[in-house]
Symmetry: C2
Subunit: 477 residues, 2 copies
């Protein structure tokens, strides 16, 4: 098996991890002339061919596509990973583009069509086959992040009074370019409402004369509405180990199906979005290296500016306490330390609760239970840090690294107490933020680490100086 052996030769051992690459010679092929590339593509798996196309520069990619056979072009455009689909469509003759869209699977055609500029959409739509127009109209109506935006309308549904033999014969006749036959959907012969789902395996195991209805598990099928959000769809797939889920309207008629490969892609996208949000920026819609300078500034500048404006309150807070600051400069030495501890504990708590809410380990109504857990946790962690802080001050004072003045022990007490308060505050605020966001309708993952840190910074300063006033009034203050 040369292929498999290549796989192992290509394996790159990096500190105990094996990287398996199914197309190790990609970069060599990308250097070949365009007709050599075109010839090579028909022997590649779709996933590898798409990686190759993505590697080419614009001119090469468009040239390759103009030379590809119709079937090959459709095969590649049907892959969600292909990167310049709208640009490729733009560079082909309208007649060719529209026939490609006709042959693509409905959900991919919808995704690509939606990314085209409006003039091109208006130009191409009339050229499409009626079937395609109908499909596009149906699917384009659904918002992103809903089941409707993930679904395909190519599924196999048979009436409940058919036999297994009739069903198998139907499957054989129905030609599909994608392997979308995960299951057979059994509908009521009169009302066409979904009754059962039958897996291919059960079909094979059954007697040809059996009624298809009796073959399926005697179980209400898991079904979703087209408005179900993609996170809920992912959860259902995981909970019931599904390969595909039927999408039904309010009466129970099938509209389409969502397949597990689209769920995998949706989950990856959600993961990226959540990471960007948690890092304090807007989600990217393109790979990192393909974003223009201006787009990058827009994605990052927005949140950076908002956080900056909010953080300016710290300057105002410190101006408010400037008298105390002048009296006890030593207090300023610990400002970064105390504030960052609040921000860090807040960051931890927020990440915990973002996941707990996403996985439904906690629900909105559990907020008070969470607060009751975070309170002692924050106090314990704050005491831990406070202890280290006090030890640090005492050590520096005794070893003579620094002189904190006559009341150095009060300074130590201030720092210790402030740390306990701020870490507790940070933990509680950080844990409550995802709940608040979800309650007012936002994605809890918008509770970014920088956002929490900013919240805690401003209040943390007030806490710090209040503790200082409490401990040091009469002595230093």
């Amino acid at each position: 098996m040369i292929g498999l052996h290549d796989l192992f030769l290509a394996a790159d051992r990096q500190k105990g991890k094996l990287l398996t690459d199914t197309f190790p010679e990609l970069h060599l092929v990308a250097e070949l002339p365009v007709d050599a590339i075109v010839e090579r593509i028909s022997s590649l798996r779709a996933g590898d061919a798409v990686e190759l196309i993505n590697e080419l520069d614009d001119d090469q990619a468009f040239a390759v596509f103009s030379l590809l056979s119709h079937d090959q072009a459709v095969r590649l455009l049907d892959q969600p990973e292909i990167q310049r689909a709208p640009e490729i469509i733009e560079h082909l003759a309208p007649g060719l583009s529209s026939s490609l869209l006709d042959e693509m699977s409905a959900d991919r055609a919808t995704d690509v069509f939606q990314e085209l500029d409006e003039p091109l959409r208006n130009l191409l739509f009339p050229l499409l086959a009626t079937e395609t127009k109908v499909a596009l109209k149906k699917l384009m109506g659904y918002a992103p992040d809903t089941a409707g935006s993930l679904m395909t309308i190519e599924f196999i549904a048979v009436p409940a009074n058919w036999t297994v033999a009739q069903t198998l014969s139907h499957i054989r006749q129905v030609e599909r370019s994608r392997e979308t036959v995960y299951a057979i959907y059994v509908t009521d012969p009169k009302t066409k409402v979904l009754q059962r789902v039958v897996s291919l395996r059960r079909l094979i195991m059954s007697h040809p004369d059996e009624l298809i209805l009796s073959v399926g598990r005697d179980e209400k099928p898991v079904a979703i509405s087209p408005l179900t959000d993609t996170e809920q769809v992912s959860r259902l797939f995981r909970k019931h180990d599904l390969l595909a889920v039927p999408v039904v309207d309010e009466s129970g008629h099938m509209i389409g199906i969502v397949t597990v490969d689209d769920v995998l892609d949706a989950m990856t996208e959600d993961m990226s979005e959540d990471t960007y949000k948690f890092g304090g920026m807007e989600a990217l819609d393109k790979p990192y290296m393909q974003i223009s300078f201006l787009q990058m500034l827009k994605k990052r500048g927005g949140w950076l500016g908002i956080l900056f404006l909010s953080e300016m309150l710290t300057a105002s807070a410190m101006q408010h306490f400037e008298v105390e600051l002048e009296k006890a400069i030593v207090l300023t030495l610990f400002i970064p330390l105390i504030m960052s501890s609040g921000g860090n504990s807040g960051s931890q708590a927020t990440s915990l609760l973002i996941r707990a809410l996403a996985l439904q380990d906690v629900r909105l109504k559990d907020w008070w239970r969470v607060a009751l857990r975070e309170l002692p946790t924050g106090i314990a962690l704050g005491s831990f840090l406070g202890f280290i802080g006090v030890v640090r001050i005492v050590t520096w004072q005794y070893l003579g690294f620094y002189d904190y003045g006559e009341y150095w022990y009060l300074i130590a007490a201030t720092i210790g107490l402030a740390l306990i308060c701020i870490v507790t505050f940070g933990s509680v605020v950080g844990s409550m933020l995802p709940f608040i966001l979800q309650r007012i309708g936002f994605d809890p993952a918008s509770a970014s680490a920088p956002f929490v840190a900013t919240l805690v910074d401003v209040t943390g300063l007030v806490i710090y100086f209040s503790v200082a006033l409490l401990v040091l009034t009469g002595t230093i203050l």
Copy 2:
């Protein structure tokens, strides 16, 4: 279709999102007496039954399991989502436990067995069927986060010289409790090396007398080694839209398969781990509400302490500049603002590059390209924030909100310049951190937001005061 209608009645419309729950009456059922629960379970989908079990308290759960039929117990234990599997096994008689493990799918039996305490493992192992012992020995050797830890050894492989009819007949005979027949693996009759993969659909569409070898796509199958890490496995599934992937040894013999449902679960776990890491803590191995107080402190205290110790360098840095601080208290007012801007831009850059590396949009060797992009981006963003900062100071001075002193315009210049430097520094450092971590063998996702912020804080202070010395020497300093 009462079931589907229930689904919609149970739908909870929250600000335009539909939540579909496949088992809305769960909490009512959990209140029923144990025998009522047992009876109910046989009519529930496995995913819903497991949710129910998870909702019960320990005594209820153990009681239910002692009353369940053998098949039902296996059905539930086979679900990865069931939460107290080791405890349940502990509370059953060893003879019963071992026979349950025998009937479970091999990968689930391995997972559960590995979670048992050692005495119990030693007790149960001799009681297992030989087949189970062999499977456990094979699968337990694989580290978590590798394909071997995800795979199951229950797959269907047939020799290449069989016909379609022989294959179908074989499938019918092989009884499986799980629907693991995603594809048929075709092996060389003599060497038993994997040759082709044939989907069920192609099987159905083919003539019974055709050779199984000619039915499969003429394509080298995608295969992985058991040491392939789970992130790479997920990537392969997404790239090639796979439902299952064969796991082979170095000679190309099949060891097992990894199925897409396990990949979905692995991806969710990876997502959680990455979120916790990015938030600056260790990954949790249990749902939020189930972690003990002490475990929680351990998971969070570690990183919190390390970051605190690192951040103490800021106090040292400020002590070093204390002369300047005393001369220009006004500089302290902006310390939180400037440092947080560095931390925020670093956080953004880090989240960007963590994802870019995970999705392989950039590779390790592209680090310099990334640095070349982050430099101008940081300068632009820093100038943006610097502009706002300067405007703020100028406005406050002119409107009389605060008097920054005789050289207020130099203060403004200091702040502006410092912001440019720190945001640039933060962006570049934040973007390089995931590369460095990956280079030395760590998961790039360990580059947490708090970690980046701490890095930037300490150096940021030095930058700030250096800029201040540059601009203000001779006047205030």
